[in-house]
Amino acid sequence: MRAQPILGTVIVLTVLSAGCSRGPAPADPGTFGDLDPAVATLLNELTAAVNADRLDAARWGRLGMALEANGLLVPAAANYEIAVGLDEQEPRWRYRRALLRARRGELDAALGDLERVIALAPGYVPARWRQGLWLLDRGDTAGAQAAFQVAVQASPRDPAGHIGTALVHLSKREDAAAAAALEELLAASPGDRYALQLLGTAYRRLGREDDARYALTIGSTGQPVWTDPWSDELAPYRRGFAVMLKEATQLGLERKFDQAIALLTQLVKLRPGDKALQVYLGGMYAAAGRVAEAAAILDPVLAADPAHFDATMHLASGYLFTGNLDRAATYAVRALALRPANADAAKLQGMVHWQQGRLGEAETLFEAAAAADPRDPMPHLWMGMILGQQARYLDARRRFEMALAKNPLLGDALLGVADTFAATGAFAQAERALQRAEQAEPANPRLPAARERIMAAARANR
């Protein structure tokens, strides 16, 4: 008579234990609201993978990364929590949890996670400099300095530890020490603009105004770069329209136009009615010099909306770059008529005039562009070049120097300065400008010719 209840208990326990061994269920992506279809697909796949083995920490971690990469930080944190519980020896999930905790302002918890990460993966340098940054955020300069010191020792060529050390010095008002650390870093990595910006701050505090101005002018244009391979692992999980659009933009900036066009073409197929996207694709064709394909997209847009500024500009630039100056002029004039105060439109029409040999009109338009956007060194550079063509060397040099005040590393402007000095017989100053150009932009393709030109002029002068 007692066998049945015992059997029942055994069955219940077995079922329960089986349930426990499956672990908690992941959240249904359908509950996350309005997701991009590509994101939803990825999350569904990874959720299914977790459901197939809920005791596999890596599956939870990967789902967490996909959630985090696509902006779903709360469920991502929950997933990392489970992944950490399932595999306490894997530092990545704890690291990701630490980053999310830090973002929420839970710095103590984040630092606790980071200490454990460091114990598990002592060679992972980003954990050290992050620890330093967070300790610095909390005002613990001694702890931060120690963490950055470890980062420097572990990876002397990674700027992060050096930058962190300089930040500690700056926060402690040890400005000379900060400057020394940054100068050492910049000797090894002269292109680090964030380091230059911090160095400018240190110089300013030390009263070195001219050095500060130079360093700050260049340094303020750079973004800090903190290398973190574990965070880079999020990239493959980023999905969806916005991500692809950003990627296409980045490819365009890198002049990888064919890849950018391929990506944009995919996006246009996804959203065939999106006019802005079509114009964007047309512009990418124009930038690639494929003006016929650009026109095939942009002409219908302009037929429907003759005042479409972007489409007009894209066609103007496409025709300009393919040497069809008449058509370029037509569109450039239209663009400037549409937006008379637009600096880009003024630059574009100025460029067309320049190539048409209408130097005075080009100069006027570049002047207008410079006034419309005082940040931009290019109109000054181009005006300098035009003035140089007209043998107005002093005026030209003044323009090149105005360009350099906005971007001291603008190689073409430095070459312009060198040329104008050479043209007026000031060869020593020309040589100095040339050297600055070589330092500022060693890969400038116009450098060798400029050097040859100036040396020839110097020889002829003797």
Partner: protein, 558 residues
């Protein structure tokens, strides 16, 4: 050269606001803590305004920026009245009234809507911010309302009726104006007008941007890459102004201007102007005299902070946190970016955000309106930040996807801030898309109250109920003409301390504030002296004053 032009505008289109760095709902409520410092009484006290961004289906950038707010005494009865700037519709036909509302403070703690017949209700255009000041030196406070297109100058008749004198005064401006401030830049006794402008935006050129989830959302100003210059109108003294923006040098730099404050940052007796720019380096216009300015933010250390890149500057305030006699600057920024606290070190500013305790706590939200004021009257400056997102994020705090809680920090010993619980100083925390915040003592009880304008929602009128508030003094500081002496600097000797405070109405974001100088005194029951440095360079000493009262001091009448 080839890349130089063609790709410029291509690339702007795909930039978007950074993704959320905050984990949202888990932070919805503050840690259970102490008593509330503020109580929302807007509806109970008769303020029925509801902001309308005009958003329908398309996402047009102005819709996310919010409307302005002002505390000012329009009828000279000693009680602060309220102006709330309505946005309206971006595509509204010309002449459509925006729907700004004006509320008269009855003096018993309640307000009445006096918009009709005041001259306010008829104003058209998509509204943004408000500035207050007696530009014609006739003893009453005039108004300036900024917006898309033309701004509006409203002359007060002293009884709360306003005449639109924009055309005759020549102060319409153009483009997209945001925060503005009346400031006497040449110390001639007449208020000039500085107007920040956001970017060169036009409806027909609006872009489409996407959230991380791929849905259409508001763009970042970076998408447009169209920063613009600010405006400066010089008061001619005859009811007209001259646009001296170019002549003053303001054309030499452009930015996405959202916040402005006038302050004599280098102690030379001339008012300089700090402009918080959104996504472009901030500007510091150093007053060279003769109505000329030079932009020197980079060398002064306020263009960007120690994080190394231009942040999304919104609201701004200045205050002497460390009691060293000069004002420090605080700038509100986007989520993931901390506040920027720039400590004035005489020749330049140093980024002291970490040392004042704001690095971590501030960067979870997108902050707009701001003030460094002593809300509990303990003699230390506290900090209020009005928050709300500008882009969609996966995690939300309420049905309004842009809504966030506001933040209140208590100033503590050592010149640091600690976030106060309950979050934002109210129970429960108020969750809204907050933008402008105006500050002033609406009930003349010595506690600073706050008017928070919320996007597509009713405003909060936050009455100061901070427990155990200390003693206080509220100083109305008038120049010889009887006008609030905007720009005057006060050195207040109270006990062992020497406090620096300033007369100003223009700070925060899209806001105009109580011109009276509020001083928290803690346990002190007396102020030994108040030394005023007037804008004309002269100084006068006033006092002593007993605490817990409102005192009027006037130039030349000690």
């Amino acid at each position: 050269m080839r890349l130089g032009v063609a790709i410029l505008w291509l690339c702007a289109a795909a930039c978007s606001r950074p993704a959320s760095q905050d984990a949202g709902p888990s932070q919805q409520t503050a840690t259970p803590g102490g008593p509330a410092w503020f109580q929302d009484l807007a509806v109970a006290r008769g303020i029925t305004f509801v902001h309308r961004s005009g958003h329908e289906t398309r996402y047009r950038l102005p819709e996310i920026m919010g409307g302005g707010a002002a505390f000012f005494d329009m009828d000279g009865d000693g009680h602060l009245d309220v102006l709330l700037v309505q946005s309206g519709r971006v595509s509204a036909p010309a002449g459509t009234p925006a729907g700004h509302q004006l509320y008269r403070n009855r003096g018993d703690g309640t307000f009445e809507d006096v918009s009709a017949g005041s001259g306010i209700a008829a104003i058209s255009g998509y509204g943004m911010g408000a500035a207050t000041g007696d530009y014609d030196n006739d003893g009453d406070v005039d108004l300036y309302i900024t917006g898309l297109g033309a701004n509006v100058l409203l002359q007060n008749d002293g009884r709360g009726h306003f005449a639109d004198v924009t055309t005759s005064a020549g102060t319409a401006g153009a483009g997209w104006s945001t925060s503005a401030a009346f400031v006497d830049i040449d110390a001639d006794g007449r208020l000039d007008l500085f107007v920040t402008r956001y970017l060169d935006w036009r409806l027909e050129a609006e872009r489409e941007c996407y959230s991380q989830a791929g849905t259409i959302d508001y763009c970042s100003p970076k998408n447009y890459d169209a920063p613009t210059s600010d405006l400066l109108f010089r008061n001619n003294g005859n009811g007209t102004f001259t646009d001296i923006s170019r002549a003053a040098g303001l054309g030499t730099a452009v930015g996405n201007g959202l916040g402005v404050i006038a302050d004599d940052v280098n102690g030379d007796g001339r008012l300089d102007l700090f402009v918080a720019n959104d996504g472009t380096p901030n500007h510091l216009w150093m007053n060279l005299g003769n109505a000329r300015f030079a932009e020197s933010a980079l060398m002064s250390g306020v263009a960007i902070d120690q994080d190394g890149s231009a942040k999304a500057g919104m609201g701004v305030h200045a205050g002497d946190l460390d009691d060293d006699g000069d004002n420090d600057l605080i700038v509100m920024n986007l989520d993931t970016e901390s506040d920027s606290f720039f400590r004035n070190e005489g020749r330049f500013f140093a980024d002291a955000t970490t040392s004042v305790g704001l690095r971590v706590a501030s960067r979870r939200f997108t902050r707009f309106g701001v003030a460094l004021l002593d809300f509990d009257n303990d003699g230390r400056l506290d900090l209020y930040e009005a928050n709300g997102r500008v882009g969609l994020q996966a995690d939300t705090f309420s049905a309004d996807p842009y809504a966030e809680p506001n933040l209140l920090f208590r100033g503590v010993a050592g010149g640091r801030f600690e976030e106060l619980s309950p979050r934002g100083g109210t129970v429960p925390p108020l969750i809204a898309t907050s933008r402008a915040a105006a500050f002033g003592d609406v009930d003349n009880d010595g506690g600073i109250d706050i008017l928070v304008a919320n996007r597509d929602a009713a405003p909060h009128l936050l009455r100061n109920v901070a427990p155990g508030r200390g003693h206080w003094l509220l100083l109305r500081v008038l120049d010889r003409s009887g006008r609030d002496a905007i720009g005057a600097t006060l050195s207040i000797a109270a006990g062992a301390r020497a406090l620096r405070r300033d007369v100003r109405t223009g700070f925060s974001y899209l806001a105009a504030n109580d011109p009276r100088v509020h001083v928290g005194l803690g346990d002190l029951t007396k102020v030994e002296s108040v030394t005023v440095r007037w804008l004309d360079g002269t100084s006068e000493r006033f006092g002593p004053f007993d605490a817990d009262r409102i005192v009027e001091i006037r130039q030349g009448r000690r």
